[in-house]
Symmetry: C2
Subunit: 441 residues, 2 copies
């Protein structure tokens, strides 16, 4: 993982091959659940980006050729959910609901460079948007797919923390004003990045009394009461208000659904400390963390947002979604050997060229192999065989085809396995049978 | 094809499904030739973007939170070749040469909005970078792969125009200064967008005499002399200078190689009117146009750039590459029925839910089907069966599974083909055999 400009990392080929494979696996998994691809421009109106509040960690755009006169109304998206909401508000008449889409693409955050955080990173988003209504079964399906997608990457030791914004907000409203509630939720989200000392100080600055701060701090520790069932049972005794009770009901139903979906109980844990930073969430929120890498933070997360599209349209399109943050996840898995980057090639076979006048013949051989679904490279530089074999070795291409003029004229080639050194002379006319046999495909 | 902000188009789901499939087909084709994936950040230093000259149709970035104080040194890439050159200059010690990579990603042009051109569009790039040297066989391979990729999309009626910058430049240098040469090449590239009248006027403004303008105009019509062989033969009689002759040699060798690669003669045509806009090309340049859609302009193009990396490093890394402009190509193919967008779903099968208490069972059925590589959606809203079947119909999902409580308890489901109305009761335990049979997979 290299970075030319701080916050804008890029991979070397052997890592990029792995990263692309991960992205492709996730994409396939999303499609197996029937989610359709979506792609929106990286650029949105700044007014859209700011519609539901944001820290203004946004990059605005200006035209280099016309720096002074351009109206600066465009910026780069900071997530894929706000563009989705804008898309649904714009095209709802042509969409079929529930609209289930995935979107795998980069997003940008206009962070200060020295902050040490990514300023561009990939998100793999799945979202379901309903027309007027959206059953909680969709929340559960999103968590199910998230779990399935991570497991398909070979990741097993993880759990998902879950909460409900209505619970947090209902509780906080027992003593705080609406604006204060939003601010405290934002501060809860920062716990971990900021210390409890800093948290306390910041909460007290919101005109919250010492006594109420104490309430907040003990409420945040609710998860210590035991497993989900015990926590739910205890929370049900707290009849704060309607909002709180509704959130509790939603959370309970979601957990029951997850159970029916055979998500292990240990995989989903209620946590009041989970708030999620973005202000558009209205119900369930969740975040997935790797058990073995606490320091990594969440690798996936999402939640329910019932009013995000309404902010841009007069209709009601409740939504729920999640994102997998592969730009953070993949380097960590590589670093710890959970994913292996040991090849600089995607090619499985290299056709070496010994006799340049016959280049057409070598290319025809490659063409034949490609039609047999074998990824095949041809060595086109004018170099001796040793250099060509060295190239295959360095790149991690396991098989090579070698043929001199005589062999070509006889319609034969030598296939060699560079690892075992085993080799065999094969007639080109018997390729379709003999080559897969030799390569053990 | 919709656009919320002019120049930033986006697709509706049924079109996006096709667009994503095209992108995936091209990607696979690139990998079958052994090209490895590459991905660089969308953001580069402006100094990098301007290193080899550009019309400044570039978007610069500023932080919204800090508009005044940010040093505005970052911008969005306008192509994928300049980032490649920067990448090679930065990481050459860790790359294996020849470095063959593909990169499929959007690029941005800071055009005036009213210009009616895309301000964001996708490029599918393939490039080969050599260390110190790069045989012309790579130029030919790039054209071969370009041809193969387009054909794999079902596009057959197209041809590639080819030229060599050394020929153009050698010819122009017989009467013009170096800067004038660059400017005239830029103007040649604009022919079609500007009229010959405008071209003449602009050339004369470059202190070119009437007589020399006449030479240029007649040189541009060289292709009228017949087929490639005749054109080459005639050009060989023009011994302008060394540069010209070298370009001619390169062009001739490339055409010979293409012949050996069995690219039909009619598919590649020499044209002196082909210049390519970007200044970094140094040898062969080429562009592919659809025979039946003249107005579309080029859908793919590229060329040889021997000094692009050197502009950012003290080493010599000659390169050759091409790009397929799918953002223009796909809408045109859709519009003309050459690609069909008739489904809003990627799912092949919908599991309907009649009995919500058994949601776990329906999800297990879906899980089973997904493991059999069938893309399966589950209808999770609480709606009657008619609505659920209507949803499948509207989205173009051909198969549905229907099961009531009784059937679930007996371990059976009904599978129905919504097109033929054929249906069958199948035992869940015999899925792996019976379902593919029913779906004719």
């Amino acid at each position: 993982m290299k970075s030319d400009i701080s916050g804008f990392p890029e991979f070397l080929p052997e890592e990029q091959i792995v990263f692309s494979e991960v992205m492709e696996n996730i994409r396939k998994k999303f499609e197996f659940y029937g989610f359709v691809p979506m792609d929106t421009p990286a650029v949105e109106r700044i007014s859209t980006l700011l519609a539901k509040g944001n820290d203004s960690e946004i990059y605005g755009l200006y035209r280099l050729a016309d720096e002074k006169n351009t109206s600066k109304d465009l910026g780069l998206r900071f997530d894929l959910t706000v563009p989705l909401a804008r898309y649904v508000a714009a095209h709802f008449g042509q969409l079929i609901f529930p609209y289930k889409r995935y979107h795998i693409a980069p997003v940008w955050r206009g962070e200060r460079p020295q902050y040490g955080r990514y300023r561009q990173f990939y998100q793999c988003d799945i979202d379901i948007i309903g027309n007027g209504e959206l059953s909680l079964a969709h929340d559960a399906e999103i968590i199910l797919l998230l779990t399935d997608a991570l497991q398909s990457l070979g990741i097993c030791n993880f759990h998902t923390r879950i909460n409900n914004r209505k619970i947090l907000s209902g509780f906080l409203k027992t003593f705080a004003e609406k604006e204060t509630v939003t601010e405290i939720i934002r501060l809860i989200d920062k716990i971990g990045k900021i210390s409890y000392e800093e948290f306390d100080k910041a909460v007290l600055q919101q005109k919250v009394s010492d006594n109420d701060l104490h309430k907040i701090r003990s409420f945040l520790e609710i998860e210590k009461r035991g497993r989900n069932l015990e926590v739910l049972k205890w929370m049900k005794t707290l009849n704060f208000n309607e909002e709180f009770s509704l959130g509790l009901l939603e959370l309970e139903e979601t957990l029951q659904l997850l159970k029916k979906m055979e998500i292990e109980d240990s995989k989903v844990k209620i946590s009041m400390k989970l708030a999620r930073g973005l202000t558009y969430y209205t119900g369930n929120v969740f975040e997935t963390v790797l058990d073995d890498f606490d320091d990594l933070g969440s690798i996936a997360g999402g939640g329910r947002y019932d009013n995000l599209v309404s902010a841009m349209s007069d209709k009601c399109f409740p939504g729920v979604g999640a994102t997998i943050g592969i730009s953070r996840l993949v380097p960590k898995l590589l670093e710890n050997g959970l994913l292996k980057a040991n090849k600089s090639a995607v090619a499985e076979l290299l056709v070496t060229v010994q006799c340049r006048e016959y280049i057409g013949s070598y290319l025809k051989i490659a063409d034949k192999l490609r039609n047999m679904k074998i990824k095949t490279e041809v060595y086109l530089h004018d170099k001796n065989l040793g250099t060509q074999l060295g190239y295959a070795n360095k790149k991690g291409i396991k098989f090579v085809i070698i043929a001199n003029e005589m062999e070509l004229l006889e319609g034969k080639v030598v296939v060699r396995n560079l690892e075992t050194r085993k080799q065999e002379t094969i007639s080109i006319s018997t390729f379709s049978e003999k080559i897969p046999e030799f390569m053990e495909l």
